[in-house]
């Protein structure tokens, strides 16, 4: 039982990270109907920005409190990743909006290859380990919960609350939802659609950057190829929860995190990615609208 709960905690931690990335996929898909294949690499980019910021801070200010350190890392990662995603959307995706549908997907795949190789070229292909930042572990009823895990889960909850508020209660969120429903109509009603879409990309990138920072803190290492697998898993999470649905993305993330850690714990770790991919395939085949998504009716 304790072992099970332990795995549950590990799974939820991982799930928080996937959920944060998945929101970016789901928002972009919701608003422009495009799978932003490069989103996983934005997450990786955020992780690298956090890594470099960490190295700057630790070499310049020795003995900085961890809270401050993490905060600056997160902000730097968010700013960098947002700027990248904003630029990418503007330069590569916007000219293709309304074009032949495969074009944005291919462009996004090209962007993904570009981003990961850009990091490989500029930062080198090797693993980038950092010394552990937070190492306290608490023992709660025989279950080891590390401070890292608590930070990740608390941060996720806080971000989701802010995010939920923005999407549901502000003019910006309303513009987003309107654009999602009907882009032309939204434009006619005076919503700056281009700006709304830009903001969506920025929001998605910020959350992915936080996820990247958490990933770096949790595992203590990052590498230029790190965008692909977490990216696909987060996408799976978005699909599982119902693409286009924000609570769905988080729910999907948690489920994927749980499945992954429980699978590794009780079956074989070798096939844990096979499990994720199989879930992706099964959900898409049998319930493409996901858990919380709206079903799509074929129009004749």
């Amino acid at each position: 039982m304790e072992y099970f709960v332990q795995q549950l905690v590990n799974g939820l931690t991982l799930g928080s990270i996937y959920g944060l990335i998945a929101i970016g996929y789901t928002m972009v898909y919701g608003i422009i109907g495009m799978i932003n294949f490069a989103h996983g690499d934005i997450f990786m980019l955020g992780g690298f920005a956090a890594l470099i910021t960490f190295l700057i801070l630790t070499s310049v200010f020795v003995g900085l409190p961890v809270v401050l350190l993490l905060l600056v890392m997160i902000i730097a990662a968010m700013l960098t990743a947002s700027l990248w995603n904003w630029t990418i959307e503007k330069m590569a995706y916007r000219p293709l909006r309304g074009s032949f549908r495969l074009a944005p997907l291919i462009t996004a795949i090209g962007m993904s290859i570009t981003l990961s190789n850009f990091i490989q070229v500029t930062q080198g292909p090797r693993n980038k380990p950092i010394p552990p930042m937070v190492s306290s572990v608490y023992n709660v009823f025989g279950i080891a919960i590390s401070l890292k895990q608590i930070i990740i889960m608390v941060l996720t909850v806080v971000l989701l609350a802010i995010f939920w508020y923005v999407v549901n209660k502000t003019a910006l969120g309303r513009a987003q939802r309107a654009t999602e429903q009907d882009r032309k109509m939204a434009a006619l009603l005076g919503i700056d659609v281009d700006r709304t879409i830009s903001v969506t990309f920025i929001m998605g990138a910020s959350l992915a950057a936080v996820a990247g920072t958490m990933y770096l803190m949790y595992y203590g290492v990052t590498v230029f190829t790190d965008g692909f697998i977490p990216g696909v898993k987060a996408f799976t999470a978005a699909v599982l929860g119902g693409i286009g649905s924000l609570p769905g993305a988080v729910l999907g993330g948690m489920l994927i995190g749980l499945i992954e850690s429980l699978w590794s714990a009780y079956f074989t770790i070798d096939y844990k990615d096979v499990a994720t991919f199989s879930i992706l395939a099964i959900v898409l085949i049998f319930k493409p609208s996901g858990i919380l998504g709206r079903p799509e009716v074929e129009k004749v």
Partner: protein, 463 residues
């Protein structure tokens, strides 16, 4: 960055001011983008700790290029392009007479490929030709064949497949394992590999056929990854990441062998000096024949009801069903046919390398093949071949550019930039020509004259 239209009044000082403003803005943006990643480099020191190297000079170059580039773009290039566009649209459209070269492009290209190995031998000598025949000829032709195979699925039937490399893997492993287990020859296993791949195409195709567009793409990606992960983890059979090595070579229909020790060794039979170049040249012709077979079958199929049904399926699936076409079998045949050619290419790959491992069948390969299909212009065999030459040949060429070392210093390794440039090229070509290099479609039947159909009419895949 803003899309303010250029009016004639705004030319002159106004334009320059705007260009300056946008240039500075672009510089600032690029500073933000690159300050961490280019300005600083993470490296390990002797104690294996990460430390930062500073590269402010390089960063300055990046920022300057962005700022100046943007300035020039806004101030000079864009007004000129717009002026040209305006004058071009003012002129009446004249039918351009296609030159002899363009009309006979495919014939000339095939003739050139037939003599290509001899040209390479003539210029670089037997040993020197190796690189040109192998790295350029065979490498490009493999991608041409794969892309032509995938073209049946994506270009004709409009089914977006991101896991095509799985069938390539099935073909490669079929040959690698069966030739070692049962000692079967390449010629016996080539069709078998194709059949096995087609069989897998049907198995994987069946459950996903209800899915549309992007969803289909993602499921096929998942299947591709599952097959790769199984290859890695099913170590008893596949030897996992170590891969299968010592795969036997192919022979010329069992008559001449390329094993040096064999009594019917090719060079011995013809009294030639020993060299591995003959095998490579043989392989070149083999893949050329396989690729041309793919093209021939594609061309024939397009004029058959099944090929027309594929294209109709790409245009409108519901209309297909209303015409009594069983879309499930139609999609499955497209999947199976595409997979079969992937399987052929896979067994060729195994024979060429003599070694297969899951490393060769990563998602990136699928992405490269798909991008060649889309960049070439979906459905166009010539366009796809051109795209393969440009994308694969271009990045191969990068390896050869040793003179760049003279410019960027001895540490510069052009290979490192191969995939970066590949990715950027994908983005640039897509933004520039979303329909690919060859955007028009040859009709499969006609009453009076065969008129190419502009791609602006073809609809995207629904499936």
């Amino acid at each position: 960055m803003s899309n303010i239209s250029n009016t004639h009044e705004s030319a002159g000082g106004n334009l320059t001011a705007r260009a300056l403003r946008e240039g500075v803005f672009a510089g600032l943006v690029s500073l933000g983008l690159f300050v961490l990643f280019v300005g600083l480099e993470t490296t390990q020191n002797i104690r294996n700790e990460l430390v930062l190297n500073q590269r402010w000079g390089l960063l300055a170059i990046f920022v300057a290029v962005a700022a100046v580039g943007r300035f020039l773009m806004v101030a000079y290039i864009r007004p000129r392009l717009e002026a040209r566009k305006a004058s071009a649209s003012a002129k009446p459209v004249t039918e351009e007479q296609e030159g002899f070269f363009r009309r006979n492009f495919s014939k000339i290209a095939i003739a050139f490929l037939l003599v290509y190995p001899f040209i390479a031998v003539a210029i670089f000598g037997v040993q020197g030709s190796l690189k040109w025949v192998d790295n350029f000829g065979i490498q490009i032709l493999i991608y041409v064949m794969l892309a032509w195979g995938l073209n049946i699925v994506v270009g004709l039937a409009g089914l977006l497949d991101l896991g095509y490399v799985a069938f390539y893997a099935v073909g490669a492993y079929s040959y690698a394992l069966l030739s070692q287990q049962f000692g079967l020859s390449f010629w016996a296993l080539l069709p078998l590999a194709g059949i096995l791949a087609a069989f897998w195409g049907i198995i994987l195709g069946f459950p996903v056929l209800r899915l549309k567009g992007d969803y289909l793409a993602i499921v096929t990606l998942a299947f591709g990854e599952i097959i790769r992960l199984v290859l890695i983890n099913w170590t008893d059979v596949t030897r996992g990441t170590f891969g299968v090595s010592g795969i036997p070579k192919a022979s010329v229909f069992g008559i001449w062998s390329f094993d040096v020790g064999a009594p019917n060794y090719f060079a011995k039979a013809f009294g030639l000096p020993m060299s591995s170049a003959y095998y490579k040249i043989f392989l070149f012709y083999l893949i050329l024949a396989l690729a041309l077979l793919t093209a021939y079958v594609t061309i024939r199929l397009r004029r058959m009801p099944i090929g027309r049904a594929w294209e109709a399926l790409r245009e409108d699936e519901i209309a297909c069903r209303s015409l009594g076409i069983n879309t499930v079998t139609t999609k499955l045949t497209a999947f199976a046919t595409g997979a079969m050619f992937g399987g052929f290419a896979g067994s060729f790959f195994a024979v060429r390398q003599g070694f297969v491992s899951p490393e060769s069948f990563v998602f990136l390969e699928s992405a490269i093949i798909l991008s060649i299909v889309v960049l070439g212009g979906m459905g166009s065999l010539v366009g796809i071949a051109i795209a393969a030459v440009v994308m694969v040949g271009g990045t191969e060429l990068l390896r050869e550019m040793t003179f760049l070392k003279a410019i960027f210093g001895p540490d510069f390794t052009p290979e490192l930039y191969r995939m970066l440039i590949f990715g950027l090229a994908m983005v640039v070509v897509m933004v520039w020509k979303p329909r690919g290099f060859v955007g028009s479609r040859e009709p499969t039947a006609f009453l009076k004259e065969r008129k190419a159909v502009s791609s602006s009419f073809t609809t995207e895949g629904h499936g």
